[in-house]
Symmetry: D3
Subunit: 248 residues, 6 copies
């Protein structure tokens, strides 16, 4: 089974973090292939960047999806997830959705813990889109600057642990989701310092992707994710334009 | 007062329909300036096209927003609306949101009536994002092909009237929203054949935009629509890249 | 266009405050006519007074509605709004509903800030009736006495600013609604001291009324606001009794 | 124990129907005293009439509540219920609320069955105010004229049975509530012809009133139903004005 | 009228507390018969114990329900309530549901106050099952050990009063529900020290049971609580097995 | 990895069906061990049987859970799932929850299709408990008798396909969940005759169990699934009693 790990950010160091955190979670026989966005922003952090990065993710998928059994959109609030599911025939998984669904089997509520305030509004919309708002006890963020996106999980480790414990004690979180691709790998490291389970989203995502491939779902011809009819376009990325035009 | 009518579709005939339907609704002193997307699809009809078209709308806004008091994203399910509000300091209005808010003052529930099945899933997500799901009695669509997007409102007029009346009688709609830019102008024409009020979204939108300009709201420095911090990017449209980088 | 500004309170000073705050928001050609309740309480502050004041508002509307294009029920929690919409053919707007709908285009959530604890339970029910509970971050009130209803906005200005900022920082409000007719005019004065937009309800209300008149909605013959069949009554205000009896 | 059966309609025949249906449900030692509205409409059927009738109910309560242990507002959608609870110290029960709460112990969902379409919008708002919308499978109404309000339950008995059975079979109702004071007494008569329990609201209401009296709840000095501070008024019914002024 | 007070706990002292608290609430002519679980745990405090205790409650009901007009499952979060309603023809009432429904007539929101943290997760699920989550301001618990379950209400009386007042002032509770059978009788004792009404669940429960018996509802043959078809079983309690097999 | 497939029904043929359907979905290295309830009913179909069967499932888990990495409660509405998660330290998965979570990645809504009306009320409660009600388009059941539980999926195959297609076309289902252990294996067989993906719950369940084991979550010491304190009991199954008493 071959799964695409599509990072819609332009920072390769983050893609590497994700792949490293995912590696111990892969089933025998699963190959995970890394991809970093060729254009966009270093780290998507809000609705506007998610819109831009989501559209760029569609370009990548249009170009390479034929080669994969499933794809993971590897940024926490899942930019372009619904659009990708609509367009393409292979199962598509998002880090945030996978993490929240996994969390919902480990507790009645979860808190999302991340490293910067800037992510809050976008994360909130993602939780609502995923239908998980009633399960979300809180989104807790650090309100202070950090030095480098690739090292933020180490620099802030103690503060993130404290934030997670505050979510457990004050917000009633039954599970902690460490959110944001730059925190990939943190969950395993802090596991024993948090009173409740900690979910590593990229492990959840690869396992969810494997599950969907195993279930062998058909591409729907009815309902919300049926493929739209072919349509001309102007000025779009060639591979994406061809797919929108109805190519197969 | 100068308002941008930003059609994120590439079809100028649809922009013209919208402008014509809006004209009788403008207050004295309001100037409405038309804009048609330079690239994208002829008519946005699903999540994937909305993602692409929304990102293109941000490019246009980055280039010209300094010249306007407010902007209208003139496609029914409001592609890029939240992202545009986050990025830019001027009030931004969407056709769908404006129409639904207006409808909520004319009844307890509304139905959305449009010309093609393809729009359903995307419209549904828009209703949910806008927080209006509890008010939405139904989304009714015609399940048959049409000849030309610029003339669909005339070709299907009788069928759309029947669909609206079915929404009133079978779904309990208190208000009808004729949705989709290609139907701009239809509401006034069928007003007397429907048992409940019919909302013309582009009129609602221009009036909402005027209201917001009159209220002179400040650009928030806190909360969901505060401007994100400046950030570098790779390979984006120059005006949008400059704005994301923090230019003013 | 002629709009009735119907204050269901008996305090003319409050009506004058409302009219003054509304004035800069009127479109060219709009005439706003003041009306103060001939009987009732000086300032409606709870469900019981709203029931009484709402019924009195219907009496006024029955007597004069023929002369207007639209009416505004000018007390924040909109006493009698649904009843008035049901009975009469002209568009009716409420301060609270107009303010909350305007706020919903400026943020994802709003807080309502007002000058006395007494208003909380009634405001809460209004928010729910309007379908805006999911958008309402909090209702913040001052828990201390004030000297005169006509001057409370000046007496408590600093405390109301602090309350609004607390709503932004602690409750996550994206927009502040200064609520209650006695605070009319405050929003503009404190605009620059609050981190998010501040909504002036009476400006929202006149602009919403103008919008609805412009849209020229028909009186529904089906649905929730269809006019009830004529019916006899005993001991009611003559104009209202006549209208309920089916006069036109 | 002495309970006031306050019919906010002006039709004594309906009060008598209610009292007769209630009689077999009274506990030993309970005295139920009838009261018919001295002014208002013969039968409240919509929001406007509920507003007017609710305010008149407050006048009656202000005059006589000292003599009772509890009061029942005896019209199905409970006009003035919240206002009465706020103002007065005795337990106040509504027909609709009592019926719906009773129904919620007999099934997971209920349908409301009544004799005229005109009642639908008002009933719907009552269900929402009571917080029972998720339990309400449907509101089913007869869409045809009837001869006399005092005899409608006999005239339409067969059709109401058919309507109730349709609610069970098509809407999934687990319980039927026969709604509207003019149907008082019908539930017992049709009990064996309906596949699920049928709730007689006035029996539920007297039993709920007895329960609340037995529980001896204090008048709250905090929260939603604390008594509002005394306040002057103009032109109101003398007993009500005195109570609003703070008399005890 | 003969009502079974079925305590699904094995502690007779708690059954006695419940019966004593219920006694002053009984109508003339009602006989309340005590029953204590023959096996299970001393005091049910979580989902697992509720599952076990609920199944044991079904055994008792299968053996004795023929002798009663109604039954009360006398543990706060109502173990086995839905299952018992489904299986048996007599009205079944739960302490928690009865208390919450009574509270909903005395305020818009309630808080549940109890003596140990351990009960929180299970109580939360009960509130949701009953459809009362929107009414529940908080579940407040004492986070400290106690000496004896039969005396906990006296030992912790002052702390429970403080907890209730905190719920009123900080959580906005309009009503307090003292929850858990070991607190039976506390409500009356602390009534005058709390700013809002305090609900005694077992009084609510006996009165609700009397009401349902008075209403004489039929056992449904359709809907959620219709009796399941007869079925064989292995290794179950004989009376329960016989009832499940379809005996009458 | 060793996973327990715990069928809480007493029918071994159903356990075999489940194991056969699960087999192609297992990852290399996963061992799935079958277990059939030693007492209870042949096929759990309602709340009462779920309560009984859930308590029996706890007995089995108490006896054997030490030997497994995870367990699956293999009856569609997941009897005892929350209780088992609370009591035991290993990940526990339910067929229904796993199927619904998988479905939520393949569409926005799903319909549950099963072979008998009797299951509806219980399934409905399961959907609500899992927090998936907003995603559930419908629960569709066959309203007719069948010959043998072990063969019902073959006997009714054509009718179940028609039911699934009706859910897609009339209820708007984006995904079909074939529900109930006796239908295990059906999904793969009918895959190409349904317009949308069909979820095989037992495959989802084993894959979810593998995922949770891979994530290595700690047993929480706080929150909803922390282990309850040890407690004595009377007359319970010895292994379960020992575990409840606090043994490890």
């Amino acid at each position: 089974m071959k799964i695409l790990l599509l990072n819609p950010n332009t920072t390769e160091a983050v893609t590497d973090l994700l792949a490293a955190a995912a590696a111990p979670g892969l089933s025998p026989g699963t190959e995970l292939v890394k991809s970093t966005a060729p254009r966009g922003v270093p780290y998507i952090a809000n609705r506007a960047e998610a819109l831009i990065g989501g559209a760029i993710a569609l370009e990548t998928l249009a170009a390479v999806q034929h080669e994969y059994d499933a794809a993971i959109i590897a940024a926490f609030a899942d930019p372009g997830l619904g659009a990708a599911r609509e367009l393409f025939p292979l199962p598509i998984v998002g880090l945030a959705e996978a993490g929240m669904l996994a969390a919902s089997m480990l507790g009645r509520s979860f808190s999302i813990v991340t490293f910067t305030d800037a992510l809050q509004p976008w994360y909130r919309e993602c939780v609502e889109w995923t239908g998980m708002a009633a399960r979300c006890a809180s989104i807790r963020t650090l309100g202070e600057p950090f030095q480098a996106i690739g090292n933020v999980q180490h620099e802030k480790e103690e503060k993130l642990v404290a934030l997670a414990q505050a979510a457990v004690r004050e917000d009633g979180a039954d599970v902690i989701i460490t959110a944001g691709a730059p925190l990939a790998g943190l969950a395993a490291r802090i596991r024993d310092r948090i009173d409740v389970p900690v979910v590593e989203c990229v492990v959840a995502a690869v396992r969810m992707a494997e599950m969907l491939v195993t279930m062998n779902p058909r591409k729907p011809t009815a309902g919300t994710y049926r493929r739209p009819p072919g349509k001309p376009s102007i000025g779009l990325d060639p591979a994406l334009a061809a797919w929108i035009a109805g190519d197969s």
